[in-house]
């Protein structure tokens, strides 16, 4: 599977707490309008390539208080009914891998609803990321991924650090995307 996905701004109105939905109510247009995603079976696993436009990359955040790194994530549903836009739901988890430009490796992530994401070191993975000519290209080499193998669907999220995007402030695919 190799295709271009139009992204939308993740709805801030549903974000947990009273602050983000009001303070960022103006975030209705996606900061990143589109991304390319390729999902290919590899040797005993998967190779996922994400690419998107980013005019001003943010790679470093150490010794800074107000900088946020560029990031991206690819998800798969654990169950056929796992909802994407709410990052899963209780008993209907989503799981995936998170890359952040200021870290060397990947996080394995899992969530059962907004604000519930758990991060852990993603063992057996490799990642390479390059920014060139206004675009990020991130290649994730992943081990066996039973959720993807079973559901054959992915979703993606992109954060542009320079626009203060983090957490629920992100550009996302509008829904699950079938993997052929």
């Amino acid at each position: 599977m190799n295709r271009k996905i139009l992204l939308m701004s993740a709805p801030v109105a549903m974000q947990p707490g009273g602050y983000v939905p009001v303070a960022y109510a103006d975030r209705t247009t996606p900061v990143t309008a589109a991304a390319e995603i390729a999902v290919e079976p590899g040797s005993g696993g998967w190779r996922v390539t994400l690419a998107w436009a980013c005019p001003q990359p943010v790679r470093e955040t150490v010794r800074e208080t107000d900088r946020f790194a560029d990031a991206c994530a690819v998800f798969a549903p654990e169950a056929p009914e796992s909802p994407w836009m709410t990052m899963g739901a209780q008993g209907l988890a989503v799981q995936g891998f998170l890359w952040r430009a200021d870290r060397p490796g990947l996080w394995a992530i899992r969530a059962e609803g907004l604000g519930t994401m758990q991060r852990s070191a993603a063992t057996g993975t490799q990642v390479s990321a390059d920014w060139d000519n206004g675009r990020w290209r991130v290649v994730l080499s992943l081990p066996e991924w039973p959720a993807l193998a079973a559901q054959r669907r992915v979703a993606l999220a992109v954060w542009r650090g320079g626009a203060q995007e983090r957490a629920g402030l992100k550009s996302v695919s509008a829904g699950w995307v079938d993997v052929a």
Partner: protein, 345 residues
């Protein structure tokens, strides 16, 4: 989706008498040495003391544009302060270079290696006005207000910040925190900091291990000016209730944000301005309108009560308020549950 923030069983609280603050920063150092010596917290001060009028710490903190609340108490997008221009980096110095030049004809003086842009209490003792007519300044020690309606709790999408049921202390669960910094952004007092090494938020914990043992926070215990009072809001025999509820001379900072701060200040009185001939005018040097911009309209009756009780004491009459503020018996400044009361020997 707003969180339901349960009301704690009790609320621990602090009152600071600004008429007694020396600006010595002993409280700042006591706190810093106890809690914030790691690399990622180098710039952060859970307790800070700033000179006012001034830009404050972080710079611009008293500007309503930086906080996550409007002056009517509504939510607005705040600012995450910049390390260089708002907090000020913890500078490194050229000690080796200076030491090596000790015997040389051209000595190199000790100076920061970095370009200095700002720092805590950077505008120390500058104040405002013209000497000797109406120059003025005072010190404002600040810590987390452990608010009744904390903006930081409301801002965290991971529900990683909560008020303790036992005493209302607001704490960050750093195992849950992912370092998104909405809490830093939303707090109009800018008393949540970001540990840029561990990539989590940090804030004043009101020295909770000490509170649990009946010992006042380090900033209060170390204060040479004896200007801090610690206790529970509902203790009618304690200094907090007397100063806040009975005498109404202790008032919160920036009440307009509607967060219900649980740290209170006795506002500063000031000597009179002088006229062109150098005679006292009777008008206080610190403009009351400026104090009102910090403490709201309640500063007027608070100052009136303070002046009236001070006059009473000067006439030789008894004044519970003045006796309390003078802190004849320092141990009475701290009224924590007796079963946990510290034994001072």
């Amino acid at each position: 989706m707003r969180y339901d923030i349960p009301k704690p069983l009790r609320q621990v609280s602090m009152v600071l008498d600004l008429n007694k603050c020396l600006g010595c920063q002993t409280c700042t150092i006591a706190c810093k040495k106890l809690w914030n010596t790691d690399e990622g917290t180098d710039y952060s001060y859970w307790n800070s003391v700033e000179t006012l009028p001034g830009r404050g710490f972080p710079a611009g903190v008293h500007d309503p544009a930086t906080g996550g609340r409007t002056v009517e108490g509504g939510v607005r997008r705040g600012v995450v302060p910049n390390l260089d221009t708002a907090y000020g980096r913890a500078w490194t110095f050229n000690h080796e270079e200076a030491r090596a030049s000790a015997g040389a004809p051209d000595k190199i003086w000790i100076r920061p290696r970095e370009t200095v842009k700002w720092g805590p209490n950077f505008d120390e003792d500058q104040g405002q006005g013209d000497y000797p007519k109406d120059n003025h300044y005072f010190y404002l020690p600040r810590l987390c207000n452990h608010c009744t309606h904390p903006a930081c709790v409301d801002a965290c999408p991971r529900a990683a910040i909560a008020k303790r049921r036992e005493d209302g202390i607001v704490l960050v669960d750093q195992d849950r925190c992912h370092g998104y910094r909405f809490c830093v952004e939303a707090c109009p007092y800018k008393k949540v900091y970001y540990d840029h090494v561990r990539q989590v938020s940090t804030k004043c914990i009101f020295c909770l291990p000490r509170i649990e043992e009946g010992v006042a926070p380090a900033c209060a215990r170390q204060c040479p000016g004896r200007l801090r009072f610690v206790g529970y809001r509902d203790d009618e025999q304690g200094p907090i209730w007397k100063l806040v509820e009975k005498w109404k001379v202790a008032i919160p900072l920036h009440p307009e944000y509607g967060l219900g701060p649980n740290v209170f200040y006795v506002p500063p009185m000031s000597p009179p301005k002088l006229d062109a001939e150098g005679r006292p005018t009777g008008e206080p040097r610190i403009p009351v309108s400026y104090l009102e911009s910090l403490f709201g309209a309640a500063v007027h009756p608070a100052l009136e009560a303070l002046l009236a009780e001070r006059a009473r004491r000067r006439r030789g009459e008894a004044s519970e308020l003045m006796d309390l503020l003078i802190a004849y018996d320092w141990q009475q400044n701290f009224r924590l549950p007796p079963r946990q009361r510290e034994v001072l020997g």
